[in-house]
């Protein structure tokens, strides 16, 4: 056969599926408290680590987590990056700082934005606090917190990040 057919490189077959998504028991509690302006985590009954956001299990121990723990909106920078390029569909103007933060009272970090800061001066161990949206705008969402901004507090030593109690920095670190 000499006749050559046109090469078909793609077909359009859009997929639309609708779901009634549910977050889970533990995440739902977390989101409900977040709507009231509170950060909460769950403590593992085995290793005592406090997770935020909680998922109903300790992934390290493989046991259910039930104890709910109120967390501070003060946190410590565990790691960070300065985003210098625009990310498609992200409305935030670069350069901006994305950080791994550990809330006081928690042991596991979560990700949020750092702002109101000199980007070049952001560092691991830095103390920060949440800047919340006005209360009337609170929803079941992490962006109830606009961003975290630096606090005028001493740095947390690297090996102590993840062990700051709910009450905040101790007068001295126990040996």
């Amino acid at each position: 056969m000499s006749e050559q057919s046109e090469m078909i490189t793609d077909i359009e077959a859009p997929v639309y599926l609708q779901y009634n998504f549910t977050a889970g028991r533990a995440p739902s509690k977390f989101l409900s408290r977040l709507k009231q302006g509170e950060l909460t985590g769950q403590r593992c009954p085995q290793c005592a680590n406090v997770y935020i956001p909680p998922r109903g299990s300790c992934p390290a121990c493989g046991v259910p987590t039930e104890e709910e723990v109120l967390l501070s909106d003060k946190a410590t920078v565990q790691s960070f990056t300065i985003v210098a390029i625009p990310i498609p569909n992200n409305p935030i103007e670069p350069p901006y700082v994305v950080a791994n933060l550990v809330a006081d009272g928690a042991n596991i970090s979560f990700i949020h934005l750092l702002s109101d800061c000199v980007n070049e001066e952001v560092h691991i161990g830095q103390r920060v606090q949440a800047v919340w949206k006005p209360e009337e705008e609170w929803d079941y969402a992490m962006d109830n917190i606009r961003y975290f901004k630096p606090l005028d507090e001493p740095d947390v030593p690297v090996d102590r990040i993840g062990s700051v109690p709910y009450e905040g920095l101790p007068e001295s670190w126990e040996e």
Binding site: N20, G56, P59, C61, G62
Partner: protein, 352 residues
């Protein structure tokens, strides 16, 4: 080849809607149950873990990864996943043991299929060029299969209704069943048609839940000191995705898998068949060569509750439960995947 022993099995209730619970919250109680059955702490105490689930069901990419949160994977464990029913996760685990890379394995399957429109979601497992863009729903395809069987006279609507009635009555003794009741074939036949010729009762109900199993070598089972059943044969075969090329009134793949698994090598006391639609139980019984000496779907089967991605594993678990309870010596479990019984697995279990 290494023998494979099943030492533990647990299945959740089949819930029409698991509510707010997420997948991890559905899985954890079943994992705890199988750990307790063999007296171990967590997934660190087995050599291999394999799960079965499908991200399309909950509508979240990489939802299966979240399932690992249930395991206790610190320090790291050997873990794998199949985007299939967990019966195939069992198959992978058996391979792992037979390749001498493990002596024990934990298998679990889970899904929340209630959040989406399951018959439409399942249309996306069809061939992507011709069938998936047509959005032919899962029930319609299976209804066409039933129609073909009725028109050819290989079954009657009463045959189908009898399958349903038996499922409803058997399920009375199954605490995890969603649909159960003292119904007769006449009660079923009195129902109106849903997608003709299927009545709603001919279709397995949408259910949320999970199941889990532990397998190992017989040596390990004796070390743990727990009762076990042996898997003496397992095989799976798949047919073309082109429905027009298949004889939908038969299940050639089940027949071949049954031969390879050695189903005919002895009498079969019980069979658990994954027949999501009533007419398919008849196709499967015939393909497996079952006669009146075999009690089929004593659990009620999946017409009583169908945990997508776990029901296949649960069929094997149901046979295991009855063998270790001394109710049967030898049994067959069947698992399926795809439209109109496209892909079938047959497992033979025997008492020690």
């Amino acid at each position: 080849m290494k023998d494979i022993a099943i030492v533990a099995f647990s299945q959740s209730d089949c819930l029409a809607q698991a509510g707010v619970a997420n997948e991890v919250e559905l899985i954890m109680p079943q994992l705890r149950a199988v750990y307790d059955q063999v007296g171990i702490n967590n997934a660190q105490d087995v050599d291999f873990v394999c799960s079965g689930s499908c991200d399309y069901l909950q509508g979240a990419a990489f939802a299966f990864v979240a399932g690992v949160d249930a395991l206790g994977a610190v320090p790291p464990i050997k873990e794998s996943h199949v985007e299939m029913d967990a019966a195939w996760a069992l198959f992978e685990s058996i391979m792992k043991i037979r390749m001498d890379q493990a002596d024990s394995a934990l298998i679990y399957g889970f899904s929340k299929s209630s959040p989406g429109e399951l018959p439409i979601v399942l249309s996306q497992q069809l061939d992507p060029y011709y069938l998936a863009p047509l959005w032919v729903d899962y029930i319609s395809l299976n209804a066409m299969q039933a129609r073909l069987m009725l028109e050819q006279g290989v079954i009657s609507e009463r045959d189908m209704a009898e399958v349903v009635a038996r499922s409803r009555n058997n399920a009375l003794a199954n605490p995890h069943a969603l649909l159960k009741g003292e119904q007769t074939a006449d009660d079923i036949l009195a129902e109106e048609t849903y997608l003709s010729p299927l009545r709603r009762s001919d279709c397995s109900p949408i259910s949320d839940g999970a199941s889990a199993m532990i397998i190992c070598t017989p040596e390990k089972a004796r070390e743990w000191g727990v009762p076990y059943a042996l898997i003496t044969g397992i095989d799976h075969r798949m047919e073309t995705h082109n429905l027009g090329m298949r004889d939908l009134t038969d299940s050639v793949s089940t027949r071949k898998a049954a031969e390879a698994a050695g189903v005919a090598g002895g009498s079969i006391d019980i069979a658990e068949l994954y027949a999501p639609f009533s007419h398919q139980e008849i196709i499967l019984s015939r393909a497996l060569g079952l006669d009146d000496n075999t009690k089929v779907n004593l659990s009620g089967g999946v017409l009583a509750g169908n945990l997508m991605m776990a029901s296949g594993l649960s069929r094997i678990g149901e046979v295991f439960n009855r063998i270790v309870a001394g109710e049967a010596q030898r049994g067959v479990a069947h698992a399926t995947s795809g439209a109109c019984l496209q892909h079938n697995m047959v497992t033979v279990l025997e008492a020690v």
